[in-house]
Amino acid sequence: MSDQGKVGVPLLEAVDLHKTYRMGSVDVPVLQGSSMKLDPGEWVAVLGASGSGKSTLLHLLGGLDTPDPKGGEVMYKGRTISTLTRGARNRYRNREVGLVFQFYHLLPELNVLENTLLPGLVGSGIRADRDRARELLSTFGLDHRLTHRPRELSGGERQRVAIARALLNKPEVLLADEPTGNLDEDTGSEILELLKKEHQAGLSIVMVTHDRAIAELADRVVVLHHGRVDQDQSLSIQ
């Protein structure tokens, strides 16, 4: 995955994705042929109502899940993710993408610094880059919180820790699932500001949201409706 910067190849691309979940004896189609792409350095917002399949799309992009057999594919720098070996997919999640969730998903037993270091520990197996973690946390205004447990932090602080964790291994893409969904408006704005800064520094972002106002911060908005991409619009259209 070192073939960085191939001219004309999107960084991340979803091609005609189908995903069906089985609930009891009923098959529930969640994605029914969704396609989208993300160019290097781009910020794409995926806008959709609850149940439109936007989280599932994000999970497929992040390599946490695989599309249905013959249900399309996810391409990263032109290579299919779902056909990679397990080890290679683990490395993809660890190095190439960073995931941020609505409910922060920090480990309650670990303190702020340890939570941030976790992808480093998982990836290298030996020593994580403590300086990188401290630097990130400092940038996010958390240097006085390093030894605190997640339960001692506010929602905004938790989400900043989660973003720091996602960025530790310097991924190319940040995949954010409703990153402000659980925060009040002011705190949400702070988080979005933070994402904006990282984006300006060169980070590519796919952000899922149900909030049109937030989606409009992105370079481009993709609208998901019943598992299909309805429009692929650039910010300038609005």
Binding site: N90, F103, L107, P108, E114
Partner: protein, 628 residues
């Protein structure tokens, strides 16, 4: 190395793993205590062989081995041998000095005729002697015996008959003088002293007519001294050291449980029945054996009246209840195994030779570092040299029994001699080990259940770890490591706990036997405090603390009641020496077994953790992350 980080955090920040550790520790402690006590028991049995009989014995029952001193010389010449001692073993009937009156209790006993000095070099006989001095509870009676004894010894037959007729102790109406005399001779000396005292005190007018003047004056002096509380106590009752005789008379050293007068209280200490009245060394016993002649037929029974000079406590109940020791010479005479002149068949005045004294058993003690089986072979070779020499130097005379020709001649180690006794205990220990291995399964099941709950609780964490790239084997390894650490910590705590219980098992036993008052009262106090706490928690509206408080209170309450009941009933003796052979519970830890148990616990903790770990690896990260 996020595994170590997570494992250490999961261990230190939650209560559930502590439960798992406690479960493992209890399982390990249980197995260690049970196996250690069993092993200790077996070791005590094996050790007791050495302390009671030495390492190797040459035995030729009934007929005995002649020229045994030559044999002992031959055996003791070997540097591997510490000492050897001759012994005559037989069975007999011992007429005990009790109960009061003409009818006494007879007891079947195993008689060991030993030379005490040599016997004590092979065994720990000297250390097992019970009474280094007269116990406090027997001093009063003994001083009476000492004071009245010499006077009573001067009474003649007529006086004795008159005394018995005058006393209302025995019903002598209608009995002839000789019947009364027979009855009198059946009384023990201490019983005579009792008679005299009562007669002097209650029927002072009768005695002067029976006693001579000098006897009456002596008696009067003793009574005055007694009433003034100045009775002389010259307590020369016990045999000196190992001499096994008193005033030149051979005496009996009886096992502590031979006499019914000794009983063991719940503290494990020996008490003398009836306020010292039946403290054996005050009395005499009549020992009867049946000698056997050269053809294997029986001869007239031999009876010897001997004072008890001491008692011994070997710690092995089966020995202490049946064995009495008497001097070797006495036993040889009683069994007709002593040296005797051989006379001419037609002219009894003509001595044609000397029949040597015999011993039915030679006990051999080896150096500490020699294996009993090696020692046995050395002794066997020495015995061979001994028989060769005897056949050469004593031609035509009696010859010692020869191995292979005389089948009842045996040269065995203690363990072989007592195989029928040791074997079942060894089997029992193996059975215990097998049965208690089930505890491992319990241990694994507990760890499994607890880890299952932990994995369930940690599902979201697993999803997060997977989302940042943790592999499935990585997730398995977290929980295996967790199980390993729980197993190791549990096993180490279990070892400590097991050691603590095993080392203090006698103290715990004594505590059960006689729970101290403070224990009951402090338990009661803690119960009341817990109940109060529970009552206060009622107002918080939460059910869990109330439930916990109630359960702990009930448990403590039951414990308190149990201690009070034990206290009221005078305790319980679980380790009854009559059942367990030994008077002490073995209290040393069986280290090899403990280490095996610990390793087993760690392995089974891993087995218990493996299944939840596999389940954790199978967690679908997408589903796991939906949990909130």
């Amino acid at each position: 190395m996020y595994h170590f980080l997570l494992t250490s955090r999961y261990l230190t920040s939650r209560i559930i793993p502590l439960l798992a550790i406690a479960a493992v520790a209890l399982c390990v402690a249980l197995v260690i205590v049970v196996v250690s006590v069993m092993t200790g028991f077996l070791d005590m049995i094996k050790d007791s062989g050495r302390t009671l009989m030495g390492d190797v014995m040459i035995s030729y029952p009934v007929s005995g081995i002649p020229w045994y001193d030559d044999l002992i010389e031959e055996v003791e010449a070997m540097p591997e041998v510490v000492a050897a001692a001759p012994m005559v073993e037989t069975i007999g009937v011992l007429r005990m000095p009790y109960p009061r009156g003409a009818v006494k209790e007879p007891k079947m006993v195993q008689i060991w005729g030993v030379d005490p000095e040599r016997f004590a070099k092979v065994t720990t006989f000297g250390e097992t002697l019970m009474w280094p001095e007269v116990p406090e509870s027997a001093r009063y009676q003994v001083s009476h015996d000492e004071a009245y004894g010499p006077i009573i010894d001067t009474f003649d037959r007529t006086q004795r008959i008159a005394i018995l007729r005058a006393s209302d102790w025995e019903d002598t109406e209608g009995m002839s003088d000789s019947q009364v005399a027979d009855m009198g001779s059946a009384l023990t000396q201490p019983e005579w002293y009792e008679h005299m005292r009562h007669l002097m005190l209650d029927k002072g007018d009768t005695l002067p007519r029976i006693l001579r003047d000098d006897q009456r004056l002596d008696m009067q002096k003793v009574i005055e001294l007694e009433q003034a509380g100045r009775l002389p106590i010259d307590l020369d009752v016990l045999a000196e050291g190992l001499s096994m005789s008193r005033n030149g008379r051979p005496g009996i050293v009886a096992g502590i449980h031979v006499s019914d007068a000794n009983y063991r209280d719940s503290n494990g200490e020996y008490q003398i029945g009836g306020n010292g009245h039946w403290w054996l060394p005050r009395y005499e016993g009549a020992l009867t054996t049946i000698p056997v002649d050269a053809t294997g037929g029986t001869l007239e029974p031999e009876t010897v009246l001997m004072p008890f000079v001491n008692e011994f406590s070997s710690g092995v109940f089966a020995v202490d209840e049946i064995r009495v020791m008497i001097p070797l010479g006495t036993a040889q005479r009683m069994m007709h195994l002593d040296a005797a002149e051989i006379v001419d068949e037609f002219d009894p005045m003509k001595v044609v030779g000397v029949e040597p004294a015999r011993a039915t058993m030679i006990l051999v003690r080896g150096q500490d570092d020699i294996d009993p089986l090696d020692l046995r072979e050395l002794v066997r070779a020495a015995y061979q040299r001994f028989t060769d020499k005897m056949i050469e130097t004593q031609p035509g005379s009696v010859s010692p029994p020869i191995e292979g020709i005389n089948p009842s001649l045996r040269i065995l180690t203690w363990e072989e001699q007592n195989a029928a006794f040791i074997g079942p205990v060894e089997k029992e220990r193996a059975l215990m080990r097998t049965l208690f291995s089930i505890v491992y399964v319990v241990c694994a099941a507990l760890v499994l259940a607890i880890f299952w709950a932990i994995v369930y609780e940690k599902t979201r964490d697993i999803g997060i770890l997977r989302s940042i790239g943790a592999s499935r084997p990585g997730i398995v390894w977290i929980f295996l490591l967790y199980g390993l650490v729980v197993g190791i910590i549990g096993a180490v705590i279990g070892l400590g706990l097991g050691w603590l219980i095993t080392a203090n098992v006698n103290g715990i036993h004594d505590l059960l036997a006689q729970p101290p008052g403070w224990l009951a009262w402090s338990l009661a106090a803690v119960t009341v405090i817990t109940l109060l706490w529970t009552f206060l928690k009622l107002f918080t509206g939460r059910i869990l603390p109330v439930m916990l408080g109630l359960m702990i209170s009930i448990l403590l309450g039951l414990l308190t009641a149990l201690v009070f009941i034990l206290d009221a009933q005078g305790g319980v003796v679980i380790w009854d020496p009559a059942v367990y052979y030994f008077s002490e519970v073995p209290n040393s830890i069986d280290l090899p077994a403990a280490i095996i148990t610990m390793i087993g616990a760690v392995i089974f903790s891993l087995v218990g953790a493996a299944i939840p770990a596999a389940r954790a690896a199978d967690v679908d990260p997408v589903k796991a992350l939906r949990y909130e």
